[in-house]
């Protein structure tokens, strides 16, 4: 079985800080990492390949440096890696990105037909969760999002457990299918030394727009219906009142409560009148 995992290299948002003076982002020296959800996707693909036989190809679209994220996936057991890198892809929104990935999967289909595509639920830099469904739609594959368990792959069908509103469902769909996966699907293994060495030595295939074909006007900026018009700093919430409780905690907290109950009396009475309704804790 040929499995494709789609990954994205993202800035490590846990390192992004805000400069309190200028209220701007401090992003100098922020590392690029492989999107954590996508590592779970690669691991899931490798597990399916180990269980049912087959191999995993990882694909990413990005700048030449995205190479390092692909190598990390190779070290986790992926067999091949493809980097889609071309100026023609620059400025892609999720529609153009999913189109580009679809062209790459089509190209793979010509030689080694793909049964399963696995993507992370979302990328931590944009949080849109749109690329997976987009890719499934371009390919006309069975779409199964928010997967928390892969139960079985057999007889041209896949059965998974997925998160839905208000619960989970077990659902069985025809292959080829596209899954987007949650973090709790499976822990990601540590690479073994031989796999690490292989991942560093292995060649990564770099493909551009001409290599994967498709309609040029669907790539990059031209193929992206959305554009950023403006950015601005979020309205400050703060300017709040500070209460130093260290010195005389009894008095200061009394002061706080008096202020709070006086100034926020309408919010408080609203909150307390809804007391005992649908949110109530059943403990």
């Amino acid at each position: 079985m040929h499995i494709v995992a789609c990954i994205k290299q993202v800035p490590d948002t846990t390192q992004v800080k805000i400069d309190p003076e200028t209220n701007t982002l401090v992003r100098a020296g922020v590392e690029s990492i492989c999107n954590p959800y996508d590592l779970v996707a690669v691991e899931a693909g490798v597990r399916v390949a180990e269980k049912y036989g087959g191999k995993v190809t990882v694909i990413t679209m990005g700048p030449p440096q995205a190479d390092s994220a692909l190598r990390q996936c190779l070290s986790l057991g992926a067999s091949e890696a493809i980097l889609l890198s071309d100026r023609a892809f620059a400025g892609s929104d999720t529609l153009a990105t999913s189109y580009t990935l679809a062209q790459a999967v089509n190209k793979l289909n010509a030689t080694e037909p793909v049964s399963l595509v696995i993507c992370g639920k979302q990328a931590i830099d944009g949080d849109t969760a749109q690329t997976g469904p987009g890719l499934a739609t371009w390919m006309d594959y069975t779409q199964l999002t928010y997967v928390v368990e892969i139960i079985e792959v057999a007889d041209g069908f896949i059965t998974v457990k997925r998160e839905v509103e208000g619960g989970t469902e077990v659902i069985r769909g025809k292959l080829p299918a596209l899954l987007t996966v949650e973090l709790e699907l499976n822990p990601v293994r540590y690479a073994t030394l031989p796999e690490l060495v292989r991942s560093l030595r292995q060649e990564i295939k770099v493909l551009g727009a001409k290599d994967i074909g498709g309609e040029p006007e669907r790539y990059g900026l031209k193929g992206s219906p959305t554009s950023v018009k403006q950015i601005f700093a979020p309205p400050p919430h703060g300017g709040g009142k500070v209460f130093e409780t260290a010195s005389d905690s009894d008095k200061v907290i009394e002061d706080f409560l008096s202020t709070f109950f006086e100034k926020e009396s309408s919010i408080l009475s609203e909150v307390l009148s809804s007391d005992g309704s649908d949110h109530a804790q059943e403990q």
């Binding site: 440096q65 892609s92 469904p133 208000g166 990059g220 703060g238 009148s273």
Partner: protein, 427 residues
Amino acid sequence: MPKNSKGREIAEIIPAKCIGCERCLAACPVPEAMTMEGGVAIIFPEVCIGCGRCFDACPTEAIIFERVRKKKAAKPEAAGAAEAAASVDGHKGVAVFIEVYQGHGAEVSWELMGKARELADKLGTQVLGFLLGHNVKPVAEEAIAHGCDTVYMADSPAFQVYLSKLYGRAVAKMCQQVKPEILLLGATAMGRDLSGVVATILHAGLTADCTGLDIDMEKRLLLMTRPTFGGSIMATIVCQNQRPQMSTVRPRVMKLPRRDPGRKGEIRTLDLGAQADSLPQVIEFMPKAHEVGGVDITKAPVLVVVGKGACDSRHLPMLEDLARLLGGAVGCSRAVVQAGMLPYVRQVGQTGKTVAPSIYIGVGVSGAVQHLVGMQGSDRIIAINTDPHAPMMQIADYALVGDYLEVVPRLIKGIEARLPSLKGVSS
């Protein structure tokens, strides 16, 4: 103005202003002169030819370029503008996809209905509802009561269960028949699953998790504002040339409109023709309602949130007391889930749940940006922390500097003393 070693005046990126949209890269004529790193554009000074096209393309003034150019570079025209104008023409109305759970419309759909009403009034057009399901006429009537003018309904046993391809194709078909200029969906599990399918079929622009929606009256464009980079920047996104302009909005971001049972509207039944083939089958559904004490942190009016600074299970009962006193629930930051003190369903933040309680009480929560994006819609924020410089203390309406073990018991005592009088007033 910076120069390279050849003495050429070149462009320079201001990383703090760069949003990683890659418009500069798309505009740059020299393949090796620019790249992206860590989500920020980089210019290689020795390769840059100083043409200034990146400067023209940048939407955020993140590029410095001051060289006087002989020919003023014309702003690049939007691709396929003529074709686009044709596809924009004839699209009217603000549509809301109405989610149905167990025979009822989802609250987020009514919240969106309220927003759609406001947008439609600005545009001088109608609010439309797109409704799929089986025996859902009562939901259509609810939609009208919440501000919808015309509900387009496809009522069929086939739509009893949500399936991506089935619903995706059906909603896309509704868009092709009805031609709304805007389509809003809830950013729920279903809405996010569906919106990507519909947008791809229609080749439409889609913006996820918008926190603000407005209209550019001059151009009749939807202005979709969303937090980006973990909420530290707000970006306004537009979709010039494709219709509908699609946007998802998380629950409890927009205000629930007042329900008016006497409101009049129209219900039209649509026949969407043949259904998609080879659909997956739902074998089993397991409701989650009674998991983990039935607590839904997204619905609690008051949320006491435990952070790393209060991650000690011995003191959890005290924090639960505080929450219970105010009719609230206990949530937590990611570190507390990782420590195993509370389950994942209680996690607030980017990788957890988005909450917007009336009162948020952060106990020992430092306020990493990933956490802040998940709670910044809270009405009032109280923070308790020993570090007055913690980000949470900066954004709080009330910042209590001190040890939570000292502060919380006194809060409980003080609130207990005040509650009787307050309850007496409200009831």
